[in-house]
């Protein structure tokens, strides 16, 4: 069968006609909605035929499908993709809108600064501090823990509770910090001076106890634990419960510890030239109790705001070794056979604090912190008079009550932050052993921080109003008759501006981090340095303030380098610093003796130029089931005028440990701590021998039963003096061998 040519032409015409009946064409433009300018070369896909093409440089396009064209997809980089239904139209103009992302607010709990060191918590605060390079702690009971950072202590080290500076006679070596690490969510360390947000006193640095964090999900977590320490027979238990329901979390915790007289491998000690015997192997009347409480809530709103309120209460009651207050008799050192009993002399310290924080994040993060606290410290002692005068009628040796108000307003942005801090301290003293008059201190600071090119430039400017009342006592003759007035303190009211300027530069790669900090700053003298004038039982010395002191100035450079190898088995962290101080304020022995009997040589606050330098190193090496850790710190600090060391310069400290994982959840650790002899000595400071201490610990982690921990410290029961402790002046050694058994567990209910 054959068809004519005309038939083929007819069929062709039919097909063409029919196909034209179903084909559809659309033309139009793509443009930027905000600027109403053409969107050049936007990618367009026509559906259902799937043809993809581009608009021209003027945003014009022409689309055509062989079948019906129902929609176009328009895509352009940086703009939201648009799907347009054609609906039979032949012309379309498509508006393009920029991409936008909406994020819910989040709270970042990571360290805010490159120089912040996260401290690994140990079984108690003393061990935690002693195992961190660059930090040491003084210890004579749970209430007398004092952090020492790079050789500085007392008011030169700031202790912060959730960003709130802690007061409470921080100038006293024997005035420990009333904090239990179990009721916090971590510890961070800032080393060195020139700190902007920690305030002007943080010359040595600051220890930050992190407040209780918001749980990431709804549910509850209960952290609980208990421990017993053989040696001073210390028992401790704690519980911290957090519960979150939608945006609201509440938390509550409590800890309690009780400890007996301190065990010491020592048989005698000397105080003001008197020699005493210790018969029982314990320092009598050094037992005590401590309890801590926290309750609070965090309200986390979806609009990015968060409000948290915490109430904290801490209290310690501790006997004081009879040599601390007054001159003991040998009979007082016999002990009564009950290692938990306490008698006078003793101390009670209490902290009651209400703190809050509100923050809201939009373009700027706004934070307001506030706190009010009352800090009370009472020392009781057998009534005694120094020299002539009637014997006191009660046993209140010294009381120090400090009311403290703190507030901070801070704005954080992409390129920096700025803020204002205000604090006021009102201190009042009482008791028959005068040391410090009623005093006050107010600070108003402006703080700025600007980030650029991996650097941060920051500054703080302070106005400090500082002062104290006058104080006089009656002067007696040998017949206890009043013959005049003994002026112990003159009235003082002065304003001392201070400042700090700091530049941080950091370089970071995958496995390396290097930071360099350069800072210059001033620090106003403390109330104690200006007005003290009496026997300080914590240091066993007559300490005298100097109202003519001016703010000291310092210039400091410090660096930090962190490095890990390619297999992550080796990590190295080295910190170093050098600082030059003009008018460094510290206690120096004078050529005079105390005007009151048995007060000994006068130590007076004086300002001398000083130079300090040192470095800390921390190395971890993991090889299979073995972990080697070593850290060390070395420090030098000298008075430039005399060439002698500054008081209480910590000698070189080296800590090594070897851990072996017997099983996934069971590890055994052997440790060795060496403290070098004290070669850098201040005037009249005694040389202290070095010591080598051995320890071991066994740790079992079980998901069901919790974590069990057994540890022995100072296995050989070595008798050693801690050079940086004021008790070293009495020749009192540190605690002897002790062992610890502890258990802890986190109960989660999500």
């Amino acid at each position: 069968m054959t068809y004519s040519k005309s038939a083929w032409v007819l069929v062709a015409c039919f097909v063409l006609t029919v196909s034209n009946l179903f084909a559809q064409k659309v033309s139009g433009h793509v443009y930027i909605a905000e600027s109403e300018t053409p969107c050049s070369y936007a990618t367009i896909q026509a559906w259902p035929c799937g043809i993809t093409f581009s608009a021209d440089s003027h945003g014009a396009f022409h689309a055509e499908c062989e079948t019906a064209l129902d929609s176009l997809i328009v895509v352009f980089h940086g703009y939201s993709t648009v799907i347009v239904n054609v609906n039979g139209r032949s012309h379309l103009d498509v508006a393009m809108h920029p991409l936008s992302v909406t994020l819910n607010s989040i709270t970042i709990n990571a360290p805010i600064s490159n120089t912040t060191i996260i401290v690994e918590p140990k079984e108690d605060l003393i061990q935690t501090l002693n195992h961190t390079p660059g930090i040491r702690s003084l210890d004579l009971g749970a209430g007398v823990v004092q952090p020492v950072i790079r050789g500085l202590m007392g008011s030169r080290v700031v202790v912060l509770d959730g960003g709130i500076p802690q007061v409470g006679g921080r100038w006293g070596q024997d005035h420990g910090i009333l904090i239990d690490t179990e009721l916090y969510d971590g510890i961070e360390l800032e080393q060195g001076g020139g700190q902007i947000w920690l305030g002007p006193d943080a010359v040595g640095g600051g220890i930050k106890f992190l407040p209780i964090k918001l749980l990431s999900n709804e549910g509850s977590v209960t952290r609980l634990g208990a421990s017993f320490r053989g040696g001073d027979d210390k028992t401790k238990s704690y519980i911290l419960h957090k519960s979150r329901n939608q945006s609201l979390q509440w938390h509550c915790g409590f800890s309690y510890s009780k400890y007996g007289d301190r065990n010491v491998p020592q048989t005698s000690f000397e105080y003001i030239g008197r020699l005493y015997q210790i018969d029982s192997g314990r320092l009598p009347n050094t037992s005590g109790t401590s309890n801590h409480f926290v309750a609070g809530f965090i309200d986390n709103q979806e609009d990015g705001s968060q409000l948290s309120i915490d109430f904290r209460f801490s209290e310690i009651h501790q006997g004081l070794f009879p040599g601390i207050i007054g001159i003991p008799t040998q009979n007082q050192l016999q002990g009564d056979g009950d290692i938990y009993s306490t008698d006078i002399p003793n101390q009670r310290a209490r902290r009651t604090q209400l703190s809050g924080k509100w923050l809201k994040e939009k373009k700027l993060k706004r934070t307001i912190k506030f706190a009010f606290s009352n800090n009370l410290r009472i020392e009781s002692a057998p009534p005694h008079a120094h020299g002539y005068g009637p014997e006191p009628e009660n046993d209140l040796s010294l009381s120090l009550s400090e009311n403290y108000l703190f507030s901070e307003f801070k704005w954080d942005g992409y390129h920096g932050s700025y803020g204002i801090q205000y604090e006021h301290l009102q201190g009042s003293t009482d008791g028959w052993e005068f040391l410090l008059p009623n005093h006050y201190r107010t600070r108003l600071s402006t703080l700025l921080e600007y980030k650029f090119l991996k650097s941060t430039l920051s500054a703080r400017f302070d106005f400090i109003n500082i002062g104290n009342e006058a104080y006089t006592e009656n002067l007696y003759n040998s017949n206890n008759e009043i013959i005049g007035e003994d002026i112990r303190a003159y009235e003082l009211n002065t304003i001392m501006p201070s400042w700090a300027i700091r530049w941080d530069k950091s370089i970071r790669s995958d496995r390396r981090f290097f930071s360099l900090t350069t800072t210059a700053y001033t620090r106003a003298p403390s109330n104690y340095a200006l007005a003290a004038n009496g026997i300080h039982h914590g240091t066993f010395r007559f300490e005298q303030g100097n109202p003519d002191l001016k703010p000291e100035t310092a210039f400091e450079i410090r660096s930090s380098i962190k490095r890990s190898n390619f297999t992550n088995h080796l990590s190295l962290h080295v910190n170093s610093f050098a600082s030059l101080h003009k008018g460094f304020i510290h206690l120096k022995p004078t050529a005079s003796f105390a005007p009151i009997a048995h007060g000994g040589q006068i130590y007076a606050f004086q300002a001398t130029d000083a130079f300090r330098t040192g470095f800390e190193i921390d190395v971890n090496l993991q090889r299979g089931k073995c972990l080697f850790k070593t850290n060390s710190s070395i420090l030098g600090q000298w008075s430039l005028e005399t060439g002698l060391g500054l008081p209480f310069t910590p000698p070189l400290n080296l800590f090594n440990s070897y851990s072996y994982s017997i099983r996934d959840n069971l590890s055994l650790t052997f440790s060795h701590r060496a403290i070098a002899p004290s070669f850098i000595l201040a005037r009249n400071e005694d040389f202290t021998e070095g010591v080598s201490l051995l320890g071991c610990e066994l740790k079992l982690n079980s998901d069901k039963e919790g974590t069990f921990h057994f540890k022995i410290d100072n296995i050989l029961n070595r008798s050693w003096l801690d050079h940086i402790s004021a008790y070293r002046a009495l020749g009192l050694v540190t605690q002897g061998r002790w062992w610890l058994l502890s258990w802890s567990k986190d109960l989660k209910n999500n």
Binding site: L580, A591, A597, H598, F611, T613, E641
Partner: protein, 258 residues
Amino acid sequence: MKNLNLFFALGTCIFMYSCGTTDSDAPTFCSEAGDVAIVDEVEAMAGSTLTLNQTVCDNDALGTANWDLHSAEGHAHEGEEEEEGLILFSGSWDYDFSDELSGTSTTSGISTDIPNDVRGVWDIVISLVDAEGNIATDVVTPLHIENDFIPEYQLTTVTGLDLAVGGEPVWEPGATITVEGTLTDSDGIEHWGYHLENEDTEVEIAEDEGDGAGSTEVSFTWTIEIPTDASPGEYHFHMHADDMLENSMETGFHVEIE
């Protein structure tokens, strides 16, 4: 990093090289004949004037010498030879004097009246600092004070105590204790007595007293029954007496009841 450490090391060297030096040598007790530091002990009478001297030296400049006289009861001093035997202390007396010095060698001295109601051993402690604040090791010398004004107990027997050695007796509840000796006073004894007191509670668990009738010497033998319900603890055995001129004396010793 290497450069930085080098910088720190160099900085340390420069600063330490440029920093000052100071006199860090402590002053010395450069004694001459009769000085307190070189005698074994000093003897004195209550009611008399005590005069003491000590020569002191320093390589640069002297500062202050502090004289501290206090009862030796209840403690010892490093390097000091312990007094052997039981010492009965009477009265309280402290003396404290700071003597500001100058030059590199001088004699520091004190002169003071000893009260007439003290008896026993006192410590003479001399502390010395130079002008820089360097402090010398203290000199400690015992001062034996005899007394003709107040009555004097002399014990010959105390249960549980070797009087030639000293220390403290340990007595038990229910025990019978003997305290024997003599009480003398040239002016005549008017009254005597004793009591055993708990140092914590101040409760007296035994006591007795008597009339001396003006005798210059009274011999006594006290028999003391320790109550069976006596609380264990630290006690003090107080002995007191008055003479005919109303000079009072109190003394005693420490006791432990177990």
